[in-house]
Structure formats: C-alpha cells, structure tokens
C-alpha cells in the first residue's frame, strides 16, 4: 500500500517561524510514516504560488493539506476545489476568511498576541503612556492579515483608537510617530527605525512585527544611545527572540507555537486518512487554539506572563 501523502504550504519558507513549522510537521510525518511535501510562496502575500501548490497537491493525490494562507479570502476557491477532491484542508496559524472554508483551523490568535504586548507596554509605562512616542514597524505595504492583526491588536492593547481595524496606518492618535515597513527582517527593522528616529528622536515605544525586525530596531537605537530608554515589543517567541528578552534587547514578546500546530495538523491528517475523522475545534471557539503566551522578564500586574527562562524551554528554534 502506498504511504499517505500530505502537503504543507507556508507563506514563505525564509521566515524562521514557518521554517520551524515545517520542521515540526516533517518530524511528525516521519514518525507516522506520512510522505510530506512542502511548498511556499516567494514573498509575503504570495497567493498565486499557494494556489499553484494546492493544484500540485491535488495532482499528486495528497490526503491532506496544511496551509498558512497568505491571502485568507483569495485562497478560498482553491481550498474548496481541494476539499472537493477529497482532501482534508487544515488552516494553520491563520484562519481563512470565512473560517469554515477549511475543514479545521489550528491557529494562534494574532490579534490577541498583539493585544498582550500592547497591554504590557501600556502598563509598563504607567502614566507616561499618555504621551508615549510610538514607532510602528510593520511588515509590508500590501498589509497581509498577520500584519494588520498584530499591529491593531497592539494598538488596542495600548489603548489607541483603531480607526478601520482592517487597515493599519489610518490611526490619527498623535502618540504614533509613524508606520514603516520592515519585511520582517533585521535590515528592514534597522532602516525603518533610522527613518523614524530622524522624524522624531524622542521615540520611547517600538512595536515590531517580529523579533528579527526588533533586533534591527535595537541596533538603530543603540547607534543613537537610546537602547536603554526605549521599550521594544514584538511577537513570535523564537529562541533568538527569547534570548533577546533575556539580554534586555526586547521588553516583551508574545510567544506562539508553530511546531505544535504543525504536528497536531499532521496527526489530524493521519487520523483522517485512517478513518475519515475530522478534528473538532476548541470549546467555545470556531478553531483549535494553540495558544499564545507573553514572555517578559519585567511582569506587570493584570497581564499574565512567564519569564524568559520558561520561555526558552517553550521556544521553537
């Protein structure tokens, strides 16, 4: 009998987050004897490559697809045709729009992840939060959904009026110095931070889309001697990021669990291939929540968190 075939399709495979997700899936697949093929887009937001990947999976006769969608609404038709071909489609990390377009969703709530760091930053600053100077280091001008959710979550947590919650950059709060895009890497974080510092040297809160961007922003702050007096917050919870919490580079980060999502997904596909069972969502939610945890060494009241030592045990690479 042929082994069960499965696919994992990530947004890109250069972002460590997705790399780890793939590694988790691969490990689990090997354990369960599943033949796993992996695909990825070329740039963030690459919907076409994901459509092509789904088509390849269908052509290849896969049993299940794990998908982190780049464009949650645009991919729906392709997902439907995969399901029509009898394939179990599980959305990882990012829910589809509508969420029931996939058979199941194993996700973190990115908005909640953003809100946690927003609350933490606001609580850490205390009264000074009223006249904070905030730099927003986002992902890309095409504003993919993670980008918007994390950004808007942060702002809500910090207590800033969102304007249109489906779009970043339309906020009018004077505390925001500006938004810049970083492509989610050190280089982007650095150049974006330099530009914002030229605009207003008094920035004291920096939101970053992920930890590499945070590391880049830190370098820019260090260059002007402001690394001690500025709060940097981020999302992801990768091991270098947690290490950076320990070293005081990043103040707090929201940790997510890509390895877990992926291995749960593979298990679900194995179960489906065996007897057709589909996973059931977490109680009270329409998806399986794999959770998010605030990591910081400076806990504040009212926001649950763990320290970097604990975070390092849970981190994903």
């Amino acid at each position: 009998q042929d082994p069960v075939k499965a696919c994992i399709i990530t947004k890109t495979d250069t972002n460590p987050f997705f790399v780890k997700m793939k590694e988790g899936a691969t490990a689990k697949a090997e354990e369960l004897g599943i033949e796993l093929k992996s695909y990825a887009g070329r740039v963030d937001g690459d919907n076409e490559a994901q459509v092509a990947a789904i088509e390849a999976c269908i052509a290849d006769g896969a049993k299940g697809i794990l998908l982190t969608a780049s464009d949650t609404a645009a991919i729906v038709d392709s997902v439907q045709s995969a399901r029509d071909a009898g394939i179990l489609v599980i959305a990882l990390d990012t829910p589809l729009d509508p969420i029931d377009a996939a058979d199941a969703t194993f996700a973190t709530d990115n908005f909640a992840a953003g809100r946690l760091i927003g609350q933490w930053a606001s609580a850490t600053m205390g009264d000074a939060a009223a006249d904070a100077k905030i730099a927003m280091l986002d992902l890309a001008i095409s504003q993919p959904s993670v980008d918007v959710l994390r950004d808007q979550g942060f702002l809500e947590g910090f207590g800033i009026d969102l304007g249109d919650p489906n779009k970043w950059g339309d906020e009018t709060d004077p505390r925001i110095v500006g938004n810049e895009v970083t492509a989610g890497n050190e280089e982007g974080g650095l150049t974006a931070m330099e530009a914002l510092l030229a605009k207003d040297p008094d920035i004291n809160v920096v939101y970053t889309i992920n930890e590499p961007a945070a590391a880049g922003a830190y370098e820019a702050l260090k260059a002007v001697g402001k690394e001690g007096s500025t709060l940097i917050v981020s999302v992801d919870g990768g091991c270098p990021g947690v290490q950076n919490i320990k070293d005081g580079v990043i103040g707090a980060t929201s940790q997510q669990y890509p390895l877990e999502m992926a291995s749960m997904g593979i298990e679900a596909i194995a179960a489906f291939a065996k007897d057709g069972t589909k996973p059931t969502p977490t109680e009270g939610k329409d998806f399986v929540d794999t959770g998010v945890m605030l990591i910081t060494d400076k806990p504040v009241d009212g926001v649950e968190s763990v320290d970097s030592t604990k975070g390092a045990e849970l981190c994903w690479g």
Binding site: D13, E35, K37, S38, Y39, A40, G41, R42, V43, G45, D46, N47, E48, A49, V51, A52, A53, E55, A56, I58, A59, D60, G61, S70, D71, T72, A73, A74, V76, D77, S78, D97, I141, S142, Q143, P144, V148, D164, N166, K167
Partner: protein
C-alpha cells in the same frame, strides 16, 4: 552625355556582356542538413525541443506528471504569465522593458472589482472600463518613454511603484471574496469557467492565452505594424530615417501592453475567484514575464525573437515548477533547482542553435 562615359572611366568597357544570372550554388541535401536548415529557419522550434525533453524527463521521474490533468493544470498555471508575456514581448521587441506589467494587471483586476462592487457599475461595463484604464496606464508609460525620451527601465520602475501603491490605496487592502463575485458579478469570473471534454478540465483562460499568442504572432509577422515594431527595436534611429513613425509605434506598443495586462487582470479574477490587491503577480509578474521572454529567445536588446518562443519559455518554466513540485523537493531546493534548470534550458537552447547554424 554618353560620350563622357568613355572619357571618365575607360575600363568600364569590360562591362559589356557581364553575366546576368543570379548566383546559385549546389548544396548537398543530407538529412542532417535539412534538420539544421529547418531549425535555422524556425528559431522558435528550439525552445520547443527543450520543452519536450523536459516533459519526458519529468514523466520518468514522477508517475503523476504525464497525465492530461497535470498538463492542463500546468497550462492554467501559466495562463497569466503567458498573457503578461505577450505584453512583455512587444515591449522587449522595441528594445524596451516593462516592469509595471504585473502591477497594471493587479490594479486592473482591483479596478474592475471595485467598480462593480463599491460603485455598483454593471460588471460588463466595469470590465470595459478596466480594460480601458489598463490601456491608459500602458499609454502613460509609452508617453513618458517616447515623448520625454526617458529610459523604459526607469519609467516602468516608477510606474510599477505608482500603480502598485495606487492599487493598495484604492482598494484599502480589501479582498473581494469569491462567493460575492460569483453572486453579484459573475462575468468577472468568465475566464475561470472550463470545458471538460474527456474528463480533463481546461479553463477558458488557457484558450484565451493561446488565442492571444496566435493573434499576436500573426500581427508581428504578417502586418506592417508588426514589422515596424521589429524595426524600432532593431535600430530606432534607422527606423526613423527609413520612415517609421517610431514614437507613435512606441506609444501604441506600451498601450497595447497595458491592454494585455488588463486582460490578464480580468483573467486573474476568473482564475483565483476573488479580487485581491495583494496578488503577488503585482510584485513578481514582471520578472516572471521577462523570464519567459528571455528563455523564449527574445533579445532584451530588441528586434529579435518571436512571441511563440515566449510561449514556450513560459511553458518551460511551468513544466519545471510543476515537475519539481511533484517530485517533491523542499521549496528552497525547488528554487535552487529552478534556477539551475533555467540556465540549463537556455544553455541547451544556445547549443542547439550553434549546432544548427
């Protein structure tokens, strides 16, 4: 005055009785010679050979590859690149380059969608307006290039950014969902329909691409306008001196390219169902279409090559991508191998050309 002839150049007397027959040489007609000659006369056949070879190799590597459904999937995957490639072909033939093709396509798909949804314009009218706007965007490129004499690379680099960010701003980053399109403006999804002859689904979009390639090939080869496009790319100054209205041709070419891009934008709605401003064609469409054009043997210096070659170029890339996906390499290794295979394909192409000449 004939009396002067003798005076000025007496030696011309030797001309009397000069041979009047056109030079001819006998030639052996061995099979090899014939094949060589055929290849020499039909340069677009060379990428075809490379294509066939790669199909055979992948068929040996993966059982699922050489199937009608897989083939039709490859065709539908290259439909958009193929249409953008038509736009790129005419531009490159004039020794230009158009980096904005993908951005125009995505922007036009968004314009059609938004006109139909936000402004409630009937879908067919929205499509026509979208096509017209695409043509206008292309014509704007052409205007800057031919009237202000700016380098095409810079103009289209600039308009790429302009059209792409206009697209994000105009659409407020909102995707129009497939169900909504299907319900309210099904004609936007026209090219996503398919026929199903022997159980193999073939999208209308595929037929459209093939039709566009065929028409363009005819126009370039068999009409005066097509010859003028080649002449402009070959040597713009010479063409101008020879009586070609070069700057008009350049504007027309970019405008037509804009129209092709707008068509590609319409096809995108059909293929993906939804209308998404973040479609990566906006970012990558230019490189993809230029790749197809160059693999197809069209010179980036203008004036040489054929649109059929571009079509095979797009197919070669499509076959490689699908083949490697089915063989199941890791994405990074896939990118690595696609890079290597593209070089290899062109190397083989060059080698066949050399042997055949």
């Amino acid at each position: 005055m004939a009396n002067q002839t003798g005076a000025s150049s007496s030696f011309e007397e030797g001309l009397k009785g000069a041979s009047e027959s056109v030079a001819e040489f006998h030639e052996e007609k061995s099979l090899v010679k014939k094949v060589q000659h055929w290849l020499h006369k039909t340069p677009s056949a060379v990428p075809m050979i490379v294509l066939l070879a790669s199909v055979i190799v992948f068929a040996l590597l993966s059982d699922n590859f050489f199937r009608a459904t897989t083939m039709s999937t490859i065709l539908q995957q290259i439909a958009i690149v193929g249409i953008l490639g038509c736009a790129q072909t005419i531009v490159v033939l004039t020794a230009g380059i158009d980096l904005s093709v993908g951005a125009i396509a995505v922007f036009c798909s968004v314009l059609m969608g938004q006109m139909a949804f936000t402004f409630g314009i009937p879908a067919p009218l929205a499509i026509v307006l979208g096509l017209a706007l695409g043509t206008a965007m292309g014509a704007f490129n052409g205007f800057l290039i031919s009237r202000l004499k700016l380098p095409p690379f810079i103009v289209t680099l600039g308009t790429w950014q302009i059209y792409l960010s206009a697209n994000f701003i105009f659409s407020r980053n909102e995707t129009i969902r497939s169900q909504d399109v299907a319900e309210n403006a099904p004609s936007l999804q026209f090219w996503g329909q398919s026929i199903d002859p022997f159980g193999v689904k073939v999208l209308y979009a595929v037929f459209l691409m093939i039709a566009l390639v065929a028409v363009l090939s005819y126009v370039l080869r068999h009409t005066a306008w097509g010859r003028h496009v080649y002449a402009v790319g070959d040597d713009q100054e010479a063409a101008q001196l020879a009586g070609v209205q070069t700057s008009r041709i350049v504007i027309q070419v970019y405008a037509l390219a804009g129209l092709f891009c707008a068509i590609a934008g319409w096809v995108m709605i059909g293929r993906f169902g939804s209308v998404s401003p973040t479609a990566s064609t906006g970012q990558l469409g230019n490189i993809q279409s230029i790749t197809a054009v160059v693999i197809g043997g069209i010179s980036l210096f203008g004036g040489r090559g054929s649109v059929i070659g571009m079509f095979f170029g797009a197919l070669i890339v499509g076959v490689f991508e699908m083949g490697l996906r089915l063989v199941g390499t890791d994405p990074q290794w896939t990118f690595f191998l696609i890079g290597a295979l593209i070089i290899f394909a062109v190397a083989v192409d060059q080698w066949i050309r050399k042997v055949s000449s």
